[in-house]
């Protein structure tokens, strides 16, 4: 395949532009559902896009004493990570043969880049509240990565030790979704909770915590860099449910009415995430750590053991 086609895949479909559009739409869905739960009307469909365009047109302020280069490049690291992941996942979903051995591990690593960019940005902005936010984000990453990896082990074991996303997809096409097994459903519950923390949504939004540390790591960001952070978050809102759909629910099959069924699976995952976000209070960082290393890890380990015994 020539380089131009590759670039087109990264920039237009299924990479940056497509994921950004889908992510902004899901971002609106999130805000709209939240509003309806609170008996409000909610914003119009173009609201997340308008926010991004507005932020792009505003002034960029660099706080005094901040490390300028790190402060400005930090948001781009996260955006690059989520773009790579979405391209890889989208291509694999089209054609399971595209992937390479170990691509699930690569995706796992790339998915930590957005969290890393928030940590870098917060620490480089020379603000005590941003530092608190960054240190919380760091502890949160340490707490959710363990159960997330354990949960991802279940589809790998079930599909016979395949370390490719395409292999897991093929296995599900032949044998039915991983969710249909006991171990798969345990792992999916653990994985949804980890995704909630990866997205920084409410029970685990302590890195941003608008009401106590006023935006946390993002407190000093304004204008275009803030827009990049918001866009990264919106893209993650599409990419992470897609990742779970591919691993546990059999992916989105691009074939006639099966597309609709695939989109429904994605939407159902998103609604679960939004409902968790709207019905829970924020946890403290020690509570979040205890929650992830306690119940969620135990659930994921149970899933792994059951998967090893073939349930």
């Amino acid at each position: 395949m020539n380089i131009a086609a590759r670039l087109l895949q990264f920039i237009v479909f299924p990479g940056f532009l497509f994921t950004a559009a889908a992510g902004l739409f899901l971002c609106w869905l999130d805000r709209k559902i939240t509003a309806r739960i609170q008996y409000r009307i909610g914003p119009p469909w173009h609201q997340p896009l308008t926010d991004i365009v507005k932020l792009l047109g505003k002034e960029t302020m660099i706080p005094a004493g901040a490390s300028k280069a790190t402060f400005l490049t930090a948001p781009l690291i996260g955006l690059a990570g989520v773009t790579l992941v979405s391209t890889l996942l989208g291509l694999t979903d089209f054609d399971p043969k595209v992937g390479f051995v170990g691509d699930i591990i690569v995706v796992l690593y790339l998915l930590t880049l957005p969290a890393l960019s928030v940590i870098l940005g917060g620490f480089s902005s020379n603000n005590p509240l941003a530092s608190i936010g960054s240190s919380r984000e760091m502890k949160l990453v340490l707490s959710y990565e363990l159960p997330f990896i354990l949960a991802l082990l279940v589809p790998i074991i079930k599909s016979g030790g395949l370390l490719t996303i395409g292999g897991i997809l093929n296995y599900q096409l032949a044998e039915g979704a991983i969710l249909n097994s006991v171990s798969g459903s345990f792992a999916l519950v653990a994985a949804i909770l980890c995704v909630q923390a990866k997205l920084g949504l409410v029970p685990f939004d302590l890195a941003e915590a608008e009401t106590e540390i006023v935006g946390g790591a993002l407190i000093e960001y304004s204008g275009p860099p803030l827009a990049v952070f918001k866009l990264t978050k919106a893209m993650l809102l599409f990419t992470l449910p897609l990742f779970l759909t591919i691993l546990f629910l059999g992916g989105i099959i691009l074939n006639g009415t099966a597309i609709l069924w695939g989109v429904l699976k994605l939407a159902a995952l998103l609604v679960v995430i939004v409902l968790i976000r709207n019905t829970n209070p924020r946890l403290r960082i020690d509570q979040a750590l205890r929650f992830f290393w306690g119940p969620v890890t135990i659930l994921a380990i149970l899933g792994v053991i059951l998967a090893l015994f073939g349930y």
Binding site: G42, P43, T50, K54, G57, K58
Partner: protein
């Protein structure tokens, strides 16, 4: 109307600054976000950090302690940033006009440029929404 201004008027993020107010105006501002009025329909949300703000809502009379803070806060806001004086106090110092702690010569618009005044003690949520509509009209016509 160009894209930049259009996007700005459709997505105003408000930062709420209370300069020694009696909290009545603050409660009326929060009323605008409740299900009855729900100004998120127009893209208006309250945000916590001044760096994210498009609108600076100032409530309360600006006294000696707050004067420098208001000035500093306005300088920290990324431009374009609109300023709205909510209530009678920041507009004309209200019932505190002859208080010992109020700087005689300096109502809010002598310290920072004010784009809209919403009078009332406190203004009703409807009045605040009306003020924001006028602010948006002014913003989209000017410049």
């Amino acid at each position: 109307m160009d894209l930049k201004k259009r996007a700005l008027t459709k997505s105003l993020w408000a930062f709420h600054m209370s300069t020694a107010s009696c909290n009545n105006c603050d409660i009326e501002i929060l009323d605008c976000l409740t299900p009855r009025h729900d100004i998120e329909r127009f893209g208006i949300v309250l945000i916590g950090s001044i760096r994210h703000a498009d609108v600076l809502l100032v409530t309360g009379v600006v006294n000696r302690n707050c004067r420098d803070i208001v000035k500093k806060l306005y300088d920290q806001a990324p431009k374009p940033c609109l300023v709205v004086a909510v209530g009678t106090c920041p507009a004309g110092r209200g019932i505190f006009h002859n208080s010992y702690n109020v700087v005689e010569a300096e109502p809010l618009d002598k310290i920072i440029p004010v784009d809209a005044y919403i009078p009332g003690c406190p203004p009703k949520p409807e009045a605040i929404i009306d003020g924001i509509v006028k602010l948006i009209d002014k913003c989209s016509k000017s410049r």
